[in-house]
Symmetry: C2
Subunit: 383 residues, 2 copies
């Protein structure tokens, strides 16, 4: 079976991905420096289900499962650390989640912006250098984001576009124009990867993820101690998590601005399946293959209404409150991204329906006493 | 008069720009950390006319001129240094030359690539943060490069393009796809600047320079000690300088590959004039204004032939030799970039003709004994 290196293995998607691939028989090594845990700690925010760190969860996994995950804890900004990993474990596949993942965090202040830039770009560079030095044939799977595209007034293709201009034409990366520094670092990552793909004939797949939601995979259901982060604060949380927590604690769902912001969403189960499908069908040498990884589009208003309606089952009476938007973003815009590539590889989409929402509400209700409602609104603005 | 901060004031264009603006009555402060000098020293390459460093040249300038330039020597990667400059001198205009400027250097090895990435992106970020913190109304003039665009099969517009796609349209940054890591860092700079222009309503002009040639401005002609670098080695030199040196020492002109590589070139006098025109007509708040800054297009073969022909005047018998191309680049391609913006601001172009070439040959002949021919071909390849 292929050897898979998961960079950012402590993360919300990194950890369930590592377990899933381990369960499928891949030889899995995870790497993390606990950057996100440390930032959350410094900011005084805490996700649900985060008490066990990566080393502890790996230990639990290795006890419960018939397979073994290995762990390296350290900073991928340091070349010596990167060199040490690749000297010990020559991967066939490298999955790159090792980035500062929060848009609001990247907008906090100069230091948070600097950290985000430095970490995301220099870690990506070290990964590229290591693959080229140790195994240029390895398949790099990069987690991108649909946020790189922003909300253009034309249909968003899967990473590439043919431009016809003044009687001539050529193929280019689809234009990217994001609404946070975090998303901008992902654009810069794409520039970097695309250059080295051409220069060194690397094999790269870029998965342009929409916001991922959900908690449950075959592996996370084995033991509550294996659950990934469930962040609901304004900095590391996503809109679906925030709304579910607000519904559970009886706080009005806080819709930013008019709530017409449309994004493509994907269940964590499907997000991991996409990664597996991508591993099984690698990119070719010298190609940057790009998939738009989401299954359904919703406006924020639609999400709020769906969660309100699903919460009735639990006797929760949910209100919705449109608040001043702390972000600089369009609240009403055209949004039509293509997302056929992963279906063609065989993805069977999970639907964000009332039963999915209710399973999340049930889990959160069970841990209601751990919720820190103060964390939800920290008054971070983009200015 | 406006207060102008020149970052990278020791450089080939930075230094003559600083003198020119000082002569025009602007209050000029120059900043440098001698990165390029140190890299050249480490690599054992030496340009002509480089014996006087920035502090020495500023001292000479301040003695010879009726105006005074001030100097800060230090690393713009360090926020404390940046903070100190802006606390002491609040600029109306910041001209940003402070980047590792060599494409071949960026392709040498992992360390040179890391240094280029880190320096170019983090210095640009610190500049953006400083302008936003100290004077968001300041006009940032960024030296970009035509190399960001690469050689697409469509006409290259001035930074922006209207894309019509599936019956809809929108305006985007013109697609960028470069052929070295150095050029890729400039693309990443553009992404970063464009994000913060939108987020903080900054005023930015990006000058997409073609290769700049020449030595002579009103100020450099005052005293030989004020001449800028004239690099001709394979790492920091440009093709025109290399050919002139080769013509002078009787080495065949080394054309990389077929020599059909077409670029837009500009005389240093005009490059500086463009900066002045840009200062006089600043970008508006929230706008990233982009000019393609070159005056004439030539293939490498045409340059070689022109220099061979002009050298006859000095009794030099020049041969031309097509060598294996050390770079990954197209040697025969479509190239039609628009460059009308700066003419509209009033630029009167200098022509690269035999008298210009002969004035350069004459100057170099005068310093022939300082030439180190070994430095020209260091066998750097892109692989």
């Amino acid at each position: 079976m292929k050897k898979v290196l998961v960079l950012g293995g402590d993360g919300y998607i990194g950890w369930p991905t590592a377990m899933y691939l381990s369960n499928q028989g891949y030889e899995v090594v995870v790497v993390d420096n606990y950057l996100r845990r440390n930032l959350m700690h410094d900011l005084g925010v805490k996700p649900l289900f985060s008490s066990f760190d990566l080393e502890q969860r790996v230990k639990i996994w290795n006890e419960l499962s018939s397979n073994t995950i290995r762990t390296f804890i350290g900073d991928l900004n340091e070349w010596d650390f990167v060199h040490n990993i690749f000297s010990n474990f020559l991967p066939d596949v490298v999955i790159h989640f090792a980035e500062q993942p929060s848009a609001p965090y990247s907008m906090l202040d100069r230091k948070s912006a600097s950290l985000t830039l430095r970490n995301n770009i220099l870690v990506t560079a070290n990964l590229i250098f290591a693959v080229n030095e140790f195994n240029p044939d390895a398949h790099i799977i990069k987690l991108g984001t649909m946020g790189e595209y922003g909300t253009p007034n034309i249909d968003i293709e899967e990473g590439w576009i043919d431009i016809h201009h003044k009687g001539r034409s050529d193929k280019f990366l689809f234009p990217r124009q994001a609404s946070s520094l975090y998303h901008t670092t992902k654009i810069m990552d794409t520039d970097l990867l695309w250059f080295y793909v051409r220069n060194w004939n690397l094999k790269v797949t870029d998965l342009m993820q929409g916001p991922v939601y959900g908690l449950f995979t075959h592996e996370t259901l084995i033991d509550d101690r294996l659950l990934p982060f469930f962040s609901y604060d304004e900095i590391f949380g996503t809109v679906i998590n925030r709304f579910i927590i607000q519904a559970v604690v009886g706080h009005p769902l806080t819709v930013y601005g008019k709530g017409g912001q449309t994004r493509g969403y994907i269940n964590i189960h499907d997000a991991i399946k996409c990664i597996e499908l991508t591993i099984k069908t690698p990119a070719e040498s010298g190609s940057l293959r790009i998939y738009n990884q989401f299954t359904e589009k919703f406006t924020v208003n639609t999400l709020a209404n769906m969660i309100r309606d699903a919460a009735v089952e639990f006797g929760l009476d949910v209100n919705i409150n449109n608040i001043t938007n702390p972000r600089s973003e369009q609240e009403d815009h055209y949004y039509n991204p293509v997302h056929t590539g992963l279906s063609e590889l065989g993805l069977q989409p999970t639907t964000f329906d009332s039963s999915v929402i209710q399973s999340l509400i049930a889990k959160v209700l069970h841990h209601k006493s751990d919720i820190n409602i103060e964390a939800i609104l920290k008054n971070i603005t983009w200015a």
